[in-house]
Every structure is written in C-alpha cells, then in structure tokens.
Amino acid sequence: MRIFLLLLLLSTSAVQAQNIPIITQADLYTLLAKNDDTLRVVNFWATWCGPCVQELPHFEKLQRNHHDKPLKVILVSLDFASQLQKRVVPFVKKRKLTSTVVLFDGGDPNQWIDRVEPRWSGSIPATLFLYKGKRIFYEGQLSEPELYQYIQKIKKQTP
C-alpha cells in the first residue's frame, strides 16, 4: 500500500511541493527498477550541500521544459529525516521547486550505496539517468550543458 501511494505520488507531475514523502530502501529500489518509456533523472542532494543547490535550477528547468514529455526529475534528498519539516519543506517551498522531491531515509549507507550504483563513492551531488533499461551514473556537480548531454546520450544509447 505504501509503495502504491509512493508510485502514485511519483507518477503525478502536479505534486504539491509541500508533500515530501519519506521513502525507504525498498521504495528507492522500486523507483530505480521502473522500466518504461519515461526518462528518469534521479538526483541525490541535500539542502545544505552547496554544489547540489547550485545545480538544482538546471534540473528544475529541465523538468519545466519537458512537462508534457515522458521525462521525470526526481530529487532525492539525503537530509536527515528529522530535518524534513525544519529544513527540507521550507527550502522546497521557498525555491518553488516543481520537480518531485522525496526524502530518502535509507539507514546504513553501506547497505544501499553499492546497490544504487557500485561506482558511487557516496559523495553528493550524484545523478542517475534511467531510460528503457539503460542507465548512466554521474557523481559530482553537473553544468546545464552537461545535463543535456547526458539526456541526449541516454536517449541514443542502445540497451
């Protein structure tokens, strides 16, 4: 039921920015395993992470420019769960973020980092591009041209 609610939430693009669900490891794996015609850009970030905040507008713009296309930006906050109401909600509200935002409370990172992406050392920002069973991973801050390059790259890639 919980996963169903999460999927419902992730599938509607007109999500109220204020509704930020806390998701678990299982929820995240379900999200990453989705294999349909939607190109998903999954960005791991945190409100206090400078490079993450700098690249956020690129993701927002990408989502706005593709609002009628099968492209979804999902911003996975790694802020502490206890900071959801105090930091994450006000941040999302203030910046008027329109992309889907979730807070990932995954427990021991040693359990999930490799499962999300073995090449990920654990620093943020980090971004996954997922499209029709294909995936590209990038650890570090993305410029706007780089973001679009990866979008083009994954579209062209053969699975």
């Binding site: 769960a81 206890s82 620093s123 943020i124």
Partner: protein
C-alpha cells in the same frame, strides 16, 4: 610506437594505482600544517602502532554529526596505539567555512584532542583517494611499512549515534589490536564532496 603506447599504458596504470589507495596498499607519509602552525608527519609518532586518518572539515553536516565520535575514537584508541589524525582537504576559496582560521576556532570550540591538519596542495587527499568528508583510512605499521587496512565509514548511522548497530571503524581497529586481519576492510558512507581547487 607499440612499445611507446605500452609504456604509456604502464605509466597511466601506475598513476592510477598511486592516485587512490585501496586496502592492502602502502600509505605514504606526509607533512602537513597543524592548527598550531607546526608541521605534523606520521613518522613523528614513533610509539604508534598505526593511525586513524580522517578526512573531515568544518562546514559539512555529516562531518559535524561525526565530530564527537571522532574525538571519542581518539580518546579510546590513542592510548592503544592508534591516534586520530584529522585532515581538512577542502579549498577555502571554494568553501570559506573550511579556512585555516575557522579550523582553529572549531577545534578549540569542540575540544579536538588530535591534530587537525590542512592539506593545502590537496596532494595527500588526491594520493589517498578521499572523495568525501568524513572519509576514514586506518593505517597499520607492519614490516612492509604503513599499510592501509580499512577505508570507509565510522559507523552505520550518521544521524543517530545511539542507534548505531555496526561500528565499522572500531571493528577494524579491534581486529588490528587482536592481530588478525581486518574482516571488513571497506565500507561506504554518504558525505560531502571534497572541495577541489578551481583550476
């Protein structure tokens, strides 16, 4: 030409190998400036059995969450031969909160019991292959030299120290103190990116 490209590959491979420590590698010594302006190198510690080298910094909330635990590690393991050596890898031009002056303030405010060094050239950080803060390297003095025996996290719960189930770094230290091999030499954790100098 073929020989040349082979040599080039060998050269690149050797760079690759030295650029990032893995467990089992030999660690090199360094000489870095401490917050008291004195230089610190590992070879000064004649009595040490090894070191807990922690790449950490002032500004990063994950480093802050672990700050007391790093102090506790030093208090517990320094008498047993494994002192903490903290290194701030960040370029203060990119992250002003990680400046030398701020390091001094932070160490004083929170009562650091260990050296807090600045890696001005970022060469040590590059050599070790640290990619985030905090990032722990446990080194062990052995016949072959100073060997890297553990790379990774301090424990499995950043946010709630009271809910930690696996004390990864301590488990590695206990293994070393018991003279056995480290059972879990590599773990991963979430952390802040290293703030590299803008070239």
């Amino acid at each position: 030409m073929k020989q040349f490209s082979l040599a080039l590959v060998a050269l690149l491979l050797s760079f690759g190998a030295s650029a990032q420590y893995k467990t089992g590698d030999k660690a090199r010594d360094f000489k870095l400036k401490n917050i008291d302006n004195k230089k610190v190198s590992l070879s000064q510690y004649k009595q040490a059995k090894g070191f807990i080298v922690v790449f950490t910094c002032n500004h990063c909330p994950w480093s802050q969450a672990y700050e007391q635990r790093i102090i506790d590690l030093d208090k517990k393991y320094k008498p047993l031969g494994y002192p903490v050596i903290a290194i701030n890898p960040n370029d203060p031009d990119v992250q002003p909160q990680d400046s030398f002056e701020e390091m001094k303030k932070r160490a004083k405010k929170f009562g650091y019991t260990f050296p807090y060094l600045v890696d001005e050239g970022q060469d040590v950080t590059r050599d070790y292959g640290a990619s985030r803060t905090p990032h722990v390297y446990i080194l062990n003095k052995e016949e072959a030299g100073l060997m890297v025996r553990y790379i990774g996290a301090i424990d499995d719960n950043t946010e709630h120290p009271d809910q930690v189930l696996q004390h990864y770094a301590e488990e590695a230290l206990q293994d070393l103190l018991e003279g056995t091999y480290v059972r879990n030499g590599n773990t991963k954790a979430v952390g802040c990116t290293i703030k590299w100098k803008k070239s």
